[in-house]
C-alpha cells in the first residue's frame, strides 16, 4: 500500500474527525470567500451593481409579476441587476432576524411578518437596521414624471398618504408599501342566489335573516351547512369591524392628549378603575352582537384555524367567509362556484337593539398594507434601493405590478383589476377607540372572551372576570408597558446623538447618514418630545385611575 493509501486507511478509522475537518475546511473557504467578495452579495455579471430584495410571497403570480417589474426596471437601468430572494413565510422572520444580526441582509426586505413575536420586534428592527425615509417622502417621485403626480410629494400619491409606511412608535417612515389589502365578506353567489335572491343584504338585520334561511336550507337538503365559516383567525375581522362601529365615540372621552388615537394606556386606565365599565351599553352591545352572530359560525369555531374555515367554505359546508383581498385569487381558483364579495354589513340606525350605538364603518386608511419594503442600513446601495422602490411605487408601475399580482395598488388613480374593485379601500370611516386587551390582561381577555362568545358564560360573568383580571394583572402589565415604551425613547436619543455628532463635526459620523443632519435632528427631537408627552399623559391617566379605584374601594 502506498503512503497515501496508508494515510487514508488511518484517517478512515476516525470518521467523526474526518467529518469535522471537512466541515471546518468548507467553513473557512466560505468565510474567506464572503469577506473577499464583500458584504451585500455576489457581484453581478459584467460588473453590474446588484440589488437584492427578500420577501415571503411564494405564490406563483407574485414572483412572476415581480420578475416583469424587475425586467422593466433593468431595461431602464442596464447597469443594475435586481434579484428576488424568496423565503417561505414560516421561516421568514427567523431568516430576517439572522440576516440582520449577521449583517448579511439584502438591500430591501419585506417587513411585518412573524406573528405575535414579530409584531413586537419589528419596531426594534426598524430603529436599528432600517433607513428612515422621512426625507424622501415629501419629495416628488421621479418616476411620476409626465403624470398628474409629477410635482406631488411621494407620500401624497398614496391612497392613504403613505400612512401604512409610518411607524407610530418611532414616528418615522420606514416602509414603502407596494400593495394594499382589505378584508371583505366572500360568499357563495350560487348558493345565496338560490336561497335568498340576487342581491346580498346590505344591513346586519338582512344578514341575520339570510343566515337563518341558509340554516333552513341546510336542514331541508340534509346537508351539513353552517352559514358563516368562522374560525379563531377570522372571527376577529368581524369583531374589529363591530368594535370600531360601536366604540368610535369613546374617542371624545378617552383621547386625553387629543392626538386622534386612544392609546392602550388611555383605554386601560379607565377600564381598570371602572370609570369605563364593560357593562356600558355600547361595549355590551359590541360583544352581544358578535355572540349573536357566532350562532351562525361552526360550533367551537374559536378552535378552528384559517385553513379549516377555508375548507368549509370551498367544500360548500359554509356559504360565507371573511378574509382578505390576498385570498381572492386562490379562492377563485379552488372554488367550484361563483364567489361574490361585499362589505361586512353593520346594523342600521333603525335597529332597535344596536342602531343607536353605531357610529359608522371602519376606515381602511393607514393599513400597514401588503408588500411593505424597508431599506436596510447595511445596504451598500441604499440610494439604488430607494430608486427601485420609487419605480415600483410610481403610478404606472404600481398599477401594472398589482394587476399582475391580483392585488390592490396603493397609488391614487392606479386601477385595480375589475374583479378586485369591491376590495378598494374605504377611507371614510372611524378607527377603534377602545382596546379591551389591556397590558397584562391580554391572556385573560383572550381566554375569557372566548368563553363568553362560545356561550359558556353570561355577559355579567364575563365582565366580572375581565374586571378582576384588569385589577389583578393591570399594575404589572402597565409597569412593563411603560418600561417597554422607554426603549423607543432610548432609540430616538441614539439617533439624535448621532445627528448631533455629525452637526458637531465628529469625523466619520456624517458619512454614515443620509439627508441634512440639522433637519433630521430637529425631526427626531420633535418626535422625541411628542413621545415624552404621550408617556407623561399616559402615566398621569393611569395614576389617576389607580387613585380613583383606591378611593372608591372601601
Amino acid at each position: 500500500m502506498s503512503d497515501t493509501g496508508r494515510t487514508w486507511a488511518k484517517l478512515k478509522r476516525y470518521p467523526a474527525l474526518l467529518l469535522l475537518v471537512l466541515v471546518y475546511v468548507i467553513s473557512c473557504l466560505v468565510v474567506v470567500g464572503n469577506v473577499i467578495r464583500g458584504a451585500g452579495g455576489a457581484p453581478g455579471e459584467e460588473k453590474k451593481k446588484v440589488l437584492r430584495f427578500a420577501h415571503w410571497q411564494l405564490e406563483p403570480g407574485i414572483r412572476s409579476a415581480m420578475d416583469e417589474l424587475i425586467a422593466d426596471y433593468q431595461e431602464v437601468h442596464p447597469d443594475i441587476e435586481v434579484r428576488q430572494i424568496l423565503i417561505p413565510e414560516e421561516g421568514y422572520f427567523r431568516w430576517v432576524n439572522t440576516q440582520l444580526i449577521g449583517r448579511t441582509a439584502p438591500d430591501m426586505i419585506e417587513c411585518g411578518s412573524g406573528g405575535t413575536v414579530g409584531w413586537a420586534l419589528w419596531p426594534k428592527f426598524y430603529a436599528r437596521y432600517f433607513m428612515p425615509l422621512d426625507r424622501y417622502v415629501d419629495q416628488p417621485n421621479p418616476y411620476n414624471k409626465g403624470t398628474e403626480f409629477e410635482d406631488t410629494p411621494w407620500r401624497k400619491t398614496y391612497f392613504d398618504e403613505m400612512e401604512g409606511g409610518y411607524d407610530d412608535s418611532l414616528q418615522s417612515y420606514y416602509r414603502v408599501p407596494l400593495s394594499a389589502f382589505t378584508v371583505r365578506l366572500y360568499y357563495n353567489k350560487d348558493m345565496i342566489e338560490e336561497v335568498w335572491g340576487p342581491s346580498f343584504p346590505q344591513t346586519y338585520e338582512g344578514f341575520i335573516e339570510l343566515c337563518e334561511e341558509l340554516e333552513r336550507y341546510g336542514e331541508e337538503q340534509g346537508k351539513k351547512l353552517v352559514p358563516i365559516a368562522g374560525s379563531g383567525y377570522n372571527f376577529r375581522q368581524f369583531f374589529n369591524a363591530f368594535r370600531t362601529a360601536f366604540t368610535a365615540d369613546y374617542q371624545d372621552r378617552l383621547d386625553r392628549d387629543f392626538d386622534g388615537t386612544v392609546s392602550r394606556a388611555e383605554s386601560a386606565g379607565p377600564l381598570y378603575s371602572g370609570a369605563v365599565g364593560m357593562t356600558e351599553p355600547p361595549i355590551r352591545a359590541n360583544f352581544e352582537l358578535v355572540r349573536e352572530l357566532s350562532a351562525y359560525f361552526p360550533q367551537g369555531y374559536t378552535s378552528l384555524d384559517r385553513d379549516e374555515a377555508v375548507f368549509l367554505f370551498l367544500q360548500g359546508h359554509s356559504a360565507m367567509i371573511t378574509t382578505g383581498s390576498w385570498d381572492y385569487k386562490s379562492l377563485g381558483v379552488q372554488s367550484e362556484f361563483t364567489i361574490g364579495v361585499t362589505d361586512i354589513p353593520l346594523p342600521s340606525k333603525d335597529n332597535p337593539r344596536y342602531g343607536q350605538y353605531v357610529a359608522g364603518p371602519q376606515t381602511e386608511a393607514g393599513l400597514e398594507g401588503g408588500f411593505p419594503m424597508g431599506i436596510t442600513k447595511i445596504s451598500g446601495n441604499a440610494d439604488l434601493a430607494l430608486d427601485f422602490l420609487q419605480y415600483a411605487a410610481s403610478l404606472r408601475k404600481n398599477e401594472e405590478l398589482n394587476r399582475a399580482m391580483y392585488w390592490l395598488p396603493v397609488i391614487k388613480g392606479a386601477e385595480p383589476r375589475e374583479d378586485l374593485r369591491p376590495f378598494a379601500p374605504h377611507i371614510e370611516g372611524y378607527s377603534p377607540s377602545i382596546e379591551y386587551a389591556n397590558p397584562g390582561a391580554e391572556l385573560a381577555y383572550d381566554q375569557t372572551s372566548l368563553l363568553y362568545l362560545s356561550g359558556k358564560i353570561s355577559y355579567e360573568e364575563f365582565a366580572k372576570d375581565l374586571l378582576a383580571a384588569y385589577r389583578r394583572d393591570g399594575p404589572v402589565g402597565m409597569d412593563e408597558y411603560f418600561k417597554n415604551n422607554e426603549q423607543t425613547l432610548d432609540q430616538q436619543m441614539r439617533s439624535a446623538a448621532l445627528r448631533r455628532a455629525a452637526i458637531a463635526g465628529a469625523e466619520g459620523a456624517a458619512p454614515v447618514l443620509t439627508g441634512d443632519s440639522e433637519t433630521q435632528y430637529r425631526r427626531i427631537m420633535e418626535a422625541y418630545v411628542a413621545q415624552l408627552g404621550t408617556r407623561n399623559n399616559e402615566v398621569r391617566i393611569w395614576a389617576e385611575n389607580v387613585r380613583l379605584l383606591e378611593r372608591s374601594t372601601p
Partner: protein
C-alpha cells in the same frame, strides 16, 4: 510526516480566515475606522463600535478632530447602548471635556448632565445642564439641555417595589420646567429646537388642562415649522380638537378641521375631521342664530 503536513495546511487555513476577517480593521486608516465605528453605532452594534473607537485612541498620528470623534463615540456608545455602562460613559465624557474645543466641552457637559439624570442624580444633572446653557447659550447642545432639564422636572417616577404605582411630578418642579422652556423661547424664539420646545410645552399644558396655553404653543409650533409630516397632521388635529371640545372656539376649530381635511385627505382621521367640521359649522350657525 503527512499528518504534520495536514496540520500545517489546516493552521494556514485558519490564519487565512482570521486574516481575511481582520483585513477590514487595517484597511484605510483612522478615518475609515471612525466611519466603521459610527456605522456600527448606527446599527446598534455597540461592542464593535467601542472597539473601533478605542483603537483610534491608541492609533499614532490621529488628529485632534479624530480624537474628539473617538471620545464622543466611546462616551455615546457606553451611554446609550441597551444596557448602559454609565460609569464608563461618565469617564469618557470627562475625558472629552479635557479637550479644549467648544464642541468637546458642550458635548461633555450635555453627556455628563444626562448621565447624572440617568443615575437618578437629578440635582447634579440639572446643574451640569444649566452650566452648559449658561456657558454656551447659543449652542444646539444648550437647546437640547433645556429639553432634558424640563423632562427631568416633568417626569413621573415609578416604584420598583410596587409595580403600577407612580408619583407624578410636583407642581413646583413642573412650574420650573415650564418656565425654563418659556424663557428659552423668549430669548431664542427661532432656535434649532424651537418647535420641539413649543410641542413640549403644548403637551404639558394639555396634561395640566391649560388648554389656551396649549393651543398657543401648538400654533407657534405650526408657524415655526414642524419637520415630521405625521406630527404636522397631529398638531393640526390637536388644535382643532381642543378648540372644539375644550375652548369652544368654533372659528378656530372650523379653520383647523378644514385645514386638516385639505392637507391630509386620505388619512385615518380624515373622516372624523369632515364630520367634526360639519358639526362645528352647525354649532356656529346655531350660535349665530
Amino acid at each position: 510526516m503527512r499528518f504534520r503536513l495536514i496540520g500545517i495546511v489546516l493552521l494556514a487555513l485558519l490564519g487565512a480566515t482570521l486574516g481575511a476577517c481582520g483585513r477590514g480593521a487595517e484597511r484605510g486608516g483612522v478615518e475609515d475606522v471612525l466611519k466603521e465605528g459610527w456605522r456600527a453605532y448606527s446599527t446598534g452594534d455597540f461592542d464593535f463600535a467601542i472597539q473601533k473607537f478605542e483603537s483610534v485612541g491608541e492609533a499614532p498620528g490621529a488628529t485632534p478632530e479624530q480624537h474628539f470623534s473617538a471620545l464622543l463615540g466611546l462616551a455615546t456608545s457606553y451611554h446609550l447602548r441597551s444596557n448602559p455602562d454609565l460609569e464608563q460613559a461618565r469617564l469618557w465624557y470627562e475625558r472629552l471635556g479635557e479637550l479644549k474645543t467648544g464642541d468637546a466641552q458642550r458635548q461633555s457637559l450635555l453627556g455628563l448632565g444626562r448621565v447624572d439624570l440617568a443615575e437618578g442624580k437629578s440635582g447634579a444633572g440639572q446643574t451640569n445642564l444649566v452650566r452648559l446653557i449658561q456657558d454656551f447659550p447659543d449652542s444646539v447642545e444648550a437647546n437640547e439641555a433645556v429639553v432634558h432639564v424640563a423632562d427631568s422636572l416633568f417626569k413621573p417616577t415609578g416604584k420598583d417595589s410596587e409595580p403600577g404605582q407612580f408619583s407624578l411630578a410636583g407642581g413646583a418642579a413642573v412650574e420650573r420646567g415650564l418656565n425654563m422652556l418659556e424663557e428659552r423661547l423668549r430669548a431664542y424664539p427661532h432656535n434649532t429646537l424651537a418647535t420641539t420646545m413649543h410641542l413640549m410645552l403644548a403637551g404639558k399644558y394639555i396634561e395640566l388642562q391649560q388648554f389656551e396655553k396649549a393651543v398657543g404653543h401648538l400654533l407657534a409650533a405650526e408657524e415655526e415649522g414642524i419637520a415630521g409630516v405625521m406630527l404636522q397632521s397631529v398638531t393640526l388635529w390637536r388644535i382643532a380638537r381642543i378648540a372644539d371640545l375644550e375652548l369652544k372656539d368654533y372659528d378656530l376649530a372650523e379653520r383647523y378641521y378644514a385645514k386638516y381635511a385639505e392637507e391630509f385627505p386620505r388619512t385615518t382621521l380624515y373622516y372624523r375631521a369632515t364630520k367634526s367640521l360639519e358639526r362645528v359649522r352647525a354649532l356656529k350657525k346655531e350660535g349665530g342664530a
